[in-house]
Amino acid sequence: MAGWSDHEVDLGGLKVRVGRGGAGRPVLVLHHDIGTLDKLPFYEALSARFDVIVPVHPGFGEKSERAQWLRHPRDIAALYQWLLADLGVERASLVGLGFGGWIAAEMAALAPRDFHRLVLVGAMGIKPPQGEIKDQAIVSYIDYAKAGFHDPAAFARNYGDVSTEQLVDWDLCREMSFRIAWKPYMYNLSLPHLLGGVKAPSLVVWGDDDQIVPKSAGEVYAKALPGARFETVAACGHCAEMEKPDELARLVTGFIDVN
């Protein structure tokens, strides 16, 4: 991607890989529990308008170092506040994808005045009132990643023939997910009660065929976040940024690009 660069940022000895590209309002994009591919059309689309910052969560793959002490997604939320402070970024918007949505929501809850906009896409972090968050522990790496898509062709378009390196990466991601979100699995019972103070306008987006996080969790988010807007993406699974990148980028851009 043009103008895209990778940096290693040192957070108190922990080395975190951060991709960055574009110019404009700062947008911190937080990836899924299955890590992130290096270059996504979604990131590129956002970087046409914004200064896009994509850290690789510590331990989620071989690029970002594992912190043995990490015990909760909220720890990553605190690390990313530190990252933004070190980068000198003010008034960022947060775009949280799936598991990254949980981190984004924790960040907003901890610092309710800090952010320009909050966008949650198929976010984990809340116990769905109907249905359950899919348990990756009992399905294979490929089957779990595939379950993130409505259309298998969209999975193939993004991941192609899955390499052994990708499998190793997914295994590292899975291990890290277990280390920090095993029980309760992928939600925080106190989070819904902490979202009422968030001052940033919020957009909650859900694929209409999300097989990983039930839409009912999104409805709880939309209710808990003051004045949140709820949007559904048609014919789309959990990984909207890979399945419908243009549509999601349009939604996000329109939402963030206002004063």
């Binding site: 522990a137 009992i138 399905v139 294979s140 790496y141 490929i142 899955v162 052994t164 499998l167 190793v168 997914w170 295994d171 590292l172 899975r174 291990e175 890290m176 277990f178 280390r179 095993w182 029980k183």
Partner: protein
Amino acid sequence: MHVMYFTEQPMSAYPSDIGLETGHTALLFSNKHFDPVAGSELYNRYLEHYIYAEEQGVEGFMLNEHHNAPFCMQAKCNVFASILAAVTKKAKIVLLGNPLPLAENPVRLAEELAMIDMISKGRLVSGFVRGGGQEQLATGVNPAFNRERFEEAHDLVVAAWSRQGPFRWEGAHYQHRVVNPWAVPLQKPYPRVWIPGVLSRETIIWAAKQRYPYIALNTSIEATKKIWEVYDATAEEVGYTAGPENHGYLQQVHVSDTEEKAEKNARQFLWMQGEFTGLAHPVWANPSGYFSPSLRRNFVEFAVGRAENPRGRPTFEQQVADGRIFFGTPKTVIPKLRRVLEETRPGIYALWGNDGTVSDADARTCIRLMGQEVMPAMREIGKELGLNSPFEVDAPVHLKYSTDLKRMPQAAE
């Protein structure tokens, strides 16, 4: 040599054809296929087998546990150990073992084991295991902290056994404001701890560092020798020379009164469609974070069907050729076992006698021939070869109770 009898206590009444059709027989294989009427009969049958075994001269019972699977009916080995503590008189009760990471409260576990030790009048050997991969999922325990929990739970159990209470425990995975159990082991400093395993190099090294005997579970003769190389090298590093009293071996051995019957029943060892052989589900058997990081590439490929199970899945004939399955009459089995003893020199030996759908009568024949003929012969061979058990040489229970440690160059002052 300490020789003991083992069986997985199979839930042989489950519909194995449905297991084959389903493609896996653990974790999510529905317990609607468990028949408690047959279960009740089998539990009692297995209990009677142990009592019978002691009458036939068997000097030790090895017990284990597994969860959510038909290949082993023991959901809690301490339950059978408790009963055997009361209804048997002399045989060692060898738990191989309690899966430490599954314990949410290791102090409770220490109490249970102390009670078993006292009720059995000091016959407990308290082995510990990490628990198979799927056991973590069956009990809701985080597989990524398996090894950390294993080590910390061990330290806490040993502290509960051997430190005077009350004391406080503030660990990474276990926190207890007051540890002061009013049940402590009869054996001092604490019951012997043996560590069984199959594959993990880390566990072999850990056992050797504690000076706990390592019991190789049904590994091939060649693999077993490699395990001893790792164990013995570690022992030298920490200052002692490992011997037969540090080495244990479990092998599948079915004995009968004819060769034909012995072979037919030995084929039942393949009935076990559990996690180590047969129908292991690649994802559940090896959850992320559970296996050794050095094997990550092998396991991820296995998990998506691109590679064979790194633990292997050999045929009956291959297992016989590798020395993992033995069968025959005492007359033909004893010479085979002599060769194993000569080659691998263990001081602890478990005969895994019966599995699958071996009939009650044939299981009893096997137990009788083991107790009356095979085990006495093995003990004699053990004497001849100098294969002493930890009991015979009064080996230290843990490295810290050693009186024979070599002066290590780095251990100045």
